[in-house]
Amino acid sequence: MENDVVSDLKREYINRMLAERKRLDGRTPEETRPVDVQTGVVTSAAGSARVKWGDTDVMVGVMVEQGTPFPDTPDRGVLVTNAELIPMASPYFEAGPPRPESIEFARVVDRGIREAQTIDLAKMCVTPREKVYITYVDMHVLDFGGNLFDAGLLGAMMALHTAVVPAKRHGNGEDFKLPVQHYPISITSAKLDGGLIVDPNLDEERVAQCRLTVTTDENGDIRAMQKGLVGKLTFEEIQAAIQNSQRCGAELRRKLGLGVK
């Protein structure tokens, strides 16, 4: 994500500690950072959330507008996911048209929401072939402390989970809760010289060979994956990353009361 370098000293130190199953911030390799979630942070949006995931701070707004459906899905609502890596969040983010990093970020989160069938899009149709609701998920990175993907999807989920469709404003009867039926959560593992770790922070992300983001649903089923950066992963490492995602995802869902029966 960032094109700056980390000193060889730090790189070595991170890897040497990891060989002893330790990390700079005191976590074990399998541990995620503390997550703090606030919902309803802006009243102008249909749903909103601010997620502080370690030092990463992401704000997500969900807005529901009316529009025309895609011709191949005439009776289903539309989902649009967008990410803004605003220059406030890091000395290496720049203003201007979206770069590959923010496009990848938005698409990985979008895939998680879409493939998990998070929103019951059939309920988001007003008049087939003519009018449907378009759900915009806008992610705003405010402070970049590593592992955007997981923080972004969690923020999107919390915002969707608390969103209300402003049907009255569009002249379609009473407002209703946005129909959320599944709760995908992504957990990213990174491969360092010293081994595999869950939820890399900024320094760890900089020295990582590659990362694997795995999105699971509330049943532990896998809904989306994305490998990034240049390194290689073994079959065992992929298995471990998936198991990490299932375990940490379930933990987070339980903590936040998402999709718990």
Partner: protein, 274 residues
Amino acid sequence: MGGSKSEHNLINADGKTRFDGRALDELRPLSIQAGVLKRADGSAYVEWGSNKVLAAVYGPREVHPRHLQNPARAIVQARYNMASFSVSERKRPGPDRRSQEISKIISEAFTSVVFVEQFPRTTVDVFMEVLQADAGTRCAGLTAASVALADAGVPMRDIVPSVASGKVEDRVVCDLNKEEDTCGSADVPCAILPRTGEFLLLQMDGHLTYDELMLAMEYNKRAAKKINEVQKEALRRKYSIITLQDNVISEQPPAAPPGVPPEATELPPPEGGA
């Protein structure tokens, strides 16, 4: 100025108070917090009425692209941006003509307060992000950005407050809210140097008589003083010195001095009882 019609009167029948209960010259609730972001060199968060605005400062740092460099002084590059979810009708992300204009005038306002001559060939980048909008966002952004600049340790002549007054139903009022802004007939945003009372930013749109404009600017001047107090207090809170109150390190009361019989020591009353 919108010219749309409100469903109710915005000035109450007494002619002295407004629909939201404020006096004509009363500000909306304002709170400022300095140093809210980790990555930025300096940052601040402002809640003002229903406005929620975040500001961050980076620099002085290298200029990109290089041809923007000024060999004599630093340049100040402000970027005002509204989040797509900050207004009830989704705003298309990215800069539009309005935000580019605002960014330009805020850059210019800050260029005259920052000691730019101390940092040749560099840039001071000021980012303002409107998370929730409720009229007066450029003023809230500028107010937050001043605190963020101070938090970043950028040498400045003063900390700049900013506020807008305007006209609603034949009355000049201070610090317009959203409804007053869209249904009112004039808007005068200002940024004022508190030490000298000089205006660093001044805009006006709508329709005002000379006297009305003077009154609006007078309101702005007075409001700016108040806002500046809050800005300074926010910085004081972040950088204040804490004095040790209880200097005793032992958990037990000190032993009785020699010569005093131990029976004479008075025991404290048991907890919870008189």
